[in-house]
């Protein structure tokens, strides 16, 4: 009982444990959402907010369906739904393993400031690589509007 209380206090005291745990839950939630709903049935509960209002396809068109196909191991089909789907899916997958790894380090008391900077730097670089087409599209849209 005392050990349990101590471990709870430790979780509360260390933001790293809490942040990594929350991100693991969120990322697993995204993956399970993709696994639960399929592209064949097209039964996604969250509707696209922009595509219903804007004329034509947007860069994120078919991203959920692409994720679902990737969860089922159909890479070619996933690329057909959204060509950028696989790289974003890979980013999320890598993030799950990174969060698990850094959580392991925190629990082992090996998580110093060097690891924090390494974690943040690697995540930012991977994010930019994975979301590069979206960043370019965003830039295009902002330039065209203003």
């Amino acid at each position: 009982m005392r050990k349990r209380i101590q471990s709870l206090h430790r979780i509360q005291a260390s933001p790293s444990i809490l942040i990594n745990s929350i991100f693991i839950v969120v990322l697993l939630g995204i993956l399970s959402y993709s696994a639960l709903f399929s592209a064949d049935r097209n039964n996604y509960p969250i509707p696209s907010s922009i595509e219903t209002l804007k004329k034509g396809k947007e860069i994120s068109w078919g991203l959920s369906r692409s994720f679902s196909e990737l969860m089922r191991g159909r890479i070619d089909s996933a690329r057909m739904y959204n060509e950028h789907g696989p790289r974003i899916f890979l980013f999320f997958l890598v993030q799950v393993f990174m969060r698990l790894f850094f959580l392991f380090l925190v629990l082992r008391n090996h998580y110093g400031m060097t690891w924090v900077y390494l974690d943040a730097g690697t995540s930012i670089v991977l994010f930019v690589i994975a979301f590069w087409p979206f960043i370019c599209r965003f830039k295009e849209v902002v330039v065209s509007v203003f």
Binding site: A13, P15, L18, I19, I22, F23, V26, S48, S49, I50, E51, L53, K54, K55, E58, I59, S60, W61, L63, F127, F131, F134, I135, R137, F138, V141, V142, V145
Partner: protein, 156 residues
């Protein structure tokens, strides 16, 4: 020297950081900009409260500042997508107008389809009436000519 050994604002700071970090990719994806807008806004509010708590309680501020930066970034991405959508509203209006116009045309065609037989019958009746009228006129003119011929023959 003041020691920073309190946890003031840490809980809200963590919540703000999670929301802010989630708001960044969601804000870049056009389909999910609305979720990012909400996450970013809530993240900014939570981070601001956490920052004021940390300032009062002399707690660490690094995480809270990171949360505030992430939330502002995510919110800005989503906000720009929102503006784009608003600017694109003439396109939406034109689409709605097109749909409305097509709807009117369809209605006209439907009405025409339902009343075609009636319209044809009316046209046939009108034609028959006009033919009858012309026939009557011709008969009257023939009679008038015959009468005038008889009168002329009688004069002779």
């Amino acid at each position: 020297m003041q020691e920073q050994n309190t946890n003031a604002g840490q809980g809200l700071g963590i919540a703000g950081l999670v929301l802010g970090v989630l708001a960044i990719p969601l804000g870049l994806i056009p389909c999910t900009f609305f979720i990012a807008l909400v996450f970013g806004a809530v993240g900014i509010v939570l981070s601001a409260i956490a920052l004021s708590q940390a300032n009062r309680g002399k707690g660490p501020r690094g995480l809270i500042i990171a949360a505030l930066v992430c939330s502002i970034l995510g919110f800005s991405f989503a906000f720009f997508w929102g503006i784009t959508l608003k600017k694109a509203s003439p396109v939406i209006k034109s689409v709605i107008q097109e749909i409305k116009q097509e709807g009117n045309l369809e209605e006209v065609f439907k009405d025409l389809g339902n009343n075609t037989e009636e319209i044809l019958k009316d046209l046939e009746i009108e034609e028959q009436d006009s033919i009858q009228e012309t026939n009557q006129d011709m008969e009257e003119k023939e009679r008038a000519l015959e009468d005038s011929l008889r009168v002329l023959e009688g004069v002779k």
